[in-house]
């Protein structure tokens, strides 16, 4: 028994690093959230008033909902596109490796680069997308992609989906690879169509991949700020102001570090809560099937 417990020494390096760079800063952030700290100089204690402000104003609750909605849109779209490409490529070994790598490429670019490239694609006057639509004779479909409040959030989401489809696709392909050959073979012999095989044979076996993919993309998307920050800065008029954008604006636009820290703690709790809930639901579902 002693020998087994001594195994815990193995976690020491990781715990040290995480303690130093995450736990300690989080504690400091929480301390800061109870002050009116401006990012520099003296901080004055203000008790829980930063938190009171968050929960007494519609603005922040709306931002929380917007963040959750954005995450739902991105994560479900990523799951569907990833599954689609993975299911297709699983059936097409000839082009599988090439396509997987090609789809993954956007995920390797920096957010800043992707953000600016899409800024030029979305531009309403001579942006790549509108010009392409015009050239194809589809001028009627031209849109003010980032300028229309009803559309902007989805344009930003689309960019994020574009960026990470290859990521979810790779995870699902690995899941497909883990499905024993005989299962597909059996399905084929019984005359099941490609869709039926996917729906009734493969999908249930992809449970673990779906769990991993959904968890990772959810956490990543909840924390996102780079793309909306570069594409819209939370605009037009707040239509894409996610919680993270407001944190950045409070930190660096207005130097309200104390308040921004409180928002960050709220955000941290949301991320943890969602992750916990998801983990439970997805694992239960996995076990049930």
């Amino acid at each position: 028994m002693r020998a087994r417990h001594s195994l815990y020494w193995f976690t020491l390096p990781a715990l040290l690093v995480i303690g130093l760079f995450f736990i300690h800063p989080i504690i400091l952030t929480f301390d800061m959230s109870l002050t009116n700290f401006k990012g520099i100089g003296e901080a004055k204690d203000v008790g829980w008033s930063n938190y009171e402000r968050i929960f007494s104003r519609d603005r922040y609750l709306q931002e929380i909902w917007l963040t959750l909605w954005y995450t739902v849109v991105v994560v479900s779209a990523l799951t569907v596109t990833g599954l689609f490409f993975a299911a297709m490529l699983h059936r097409l070994p000839l082009i599988r490796n090439f396509s997987r790598a090609a789809l993954y490429t956007p995920a390797m670019m920096s957010f800043v680069v992707v953000g600016y490239v899409w800024q030029f694609l979305y531009s309403p006057l001579n942006g790549g997308i509108n010009v392409a639509l015009r050239d194809l004779g589809l001028g009627a479909f031209e849109q003010n992609w980032l300028g229309d409040p009803a559309l902007a959030l989805y344009s930003v989401a689309f960019t994020q989906i574009w960026m990470f489809t290859g990521f979810t696709c790779a995870i699902f392909l690995a899941g497909f690879a883990g499905i024993p050959e005989e299962i597909g073979e059996a399905g084929r012999l019984e005359g099941a169509t490609s869709w039926q095989r996917f729906r009734y044979l493969e999908l249930p076996l992809l449970g673990p991949s779906i769990t991993v993919s959904v968890m990772l993309t959810t956490i990543g998307t909840l924390k996102t700020f780079e793309l909306p920050f570069i594409l819209t800065k939370g605009g037009p008029d707040g239509a894409t102001r996610l919680l993270s954008i407001d944190i950045i604006d409070n930190l660096f636009g207005q130097y309200k570090f104390g308040f921004a820290s409180a928002l960050s703690i709220v955000m941290l709790l949301i991320v943890l809560g969602v992750a916990f809930l998801q983990n439970k639901v997805l694992r239960d579902r996995e076990n049930a099937s």
Partner: protein
Amino acid sequence: MIRSLTAATTIALLLASTAAAQTTLDVVAWKGNEAEPAGLPELIEKFEAQNPDIKVELTFVARKDVDKVIPPRLQGGNPPDVTMVDSALVDLWGGAGFLTDLGTDSPWYDRMIPAVREVMTSDGEIRVYPLEVIGMGNFVNMDLLAKAGIDTAPVTIDELKAACQALSAEGIAPMIFAGGFPAMLFVGANGIDPDGISPSEYGLGERSFVGDENFNAALDGVRDLVAADCFDPKLQAGLDPWATAPQEFRSGNVAILPQGAWNIGNFSSVEGLNFQFAPMPSLHTEHGLALDLVGPGWAIPRDAENLEAARKWVDFFADEENLSVFLTAEGAYSPYTGGVSTMPDLAAPYTEARDAGSLILWPFSTLEFPKPLQTEWEDSITGFLLNIDEPNEKTLQRWDDTVEDNL
């Protein structure tokens, strides 16, 4: 792979050792990179030639990242020797005691333009050496205007409306008016009367925007521009004022772009782009209103390691000959009286308005308008453009709320 790491380390060590005998002056600025050199590479060379024992290491940090990167260094007692600051940073960092007093007895202090001196001095201390006052107004593509039969840049509202109508009749997009910045310049130029109410009255909450005659007129003025076909208000929300909007002007797709004079260098490098820089048409003046932004300056952090060398750096810029290199590259005016003119001819319309005294200091750059109001202007003016028929009150009330929140 370990080998390449070792190689990289070795190179670093080699490079570091050659400079060991000297003082390395650690300077942080949001200018001096490729996109906006501001004459700094040239000036650094000259400075190093004059001070062979000092090696200048200029680190480029974009303005928005300065807020993330520098405060930890100030707080941590390990700041750069010299850092670029604007009035907001002087207020924040200086107010917290992290910047040294450069001394109101410095020879350049008395030469400073009084309005700038007033803004930059606090608690009897001057914590910044101001480098520039930079204009904001309309970039006007003269070739496009000529196609519509107009040969001077519009400086009154009527001229602007006439130009818009003529341009749009020719099928040329007259104007960019993105809410994030260009539109703010027009609203500011029309809301603030240079001879009337001081912007600080609004900023301090002594006077409200709602019901204010000037600002109501400014928003109505925006509607007049729309009626004159200057721009499609809904389209403007989709343009990024810092990326796609300047590109439209650079490409010659639009005739008028409200922006800052810091773009002069970049636009001048575009072949065949024939443009002028003009003041913003305003209800309050016939000359057009020059919007001067009190630009950045140098500050020496309290805990700077090489205080003496940092002083030399600041004094180097106090030499008019050196400062004018910076100003010429920037397309900016000297914040000191009696400075030589460094502006290119294409900015003549702007300079004329300035010389005629038709001038305000941009209230966001003097902190007369509080910083959160800037974000609110960006948002709410975009909102206004999206729903241009809604009453002014809706927009103006948001400004009052923001000011009140900030008090």
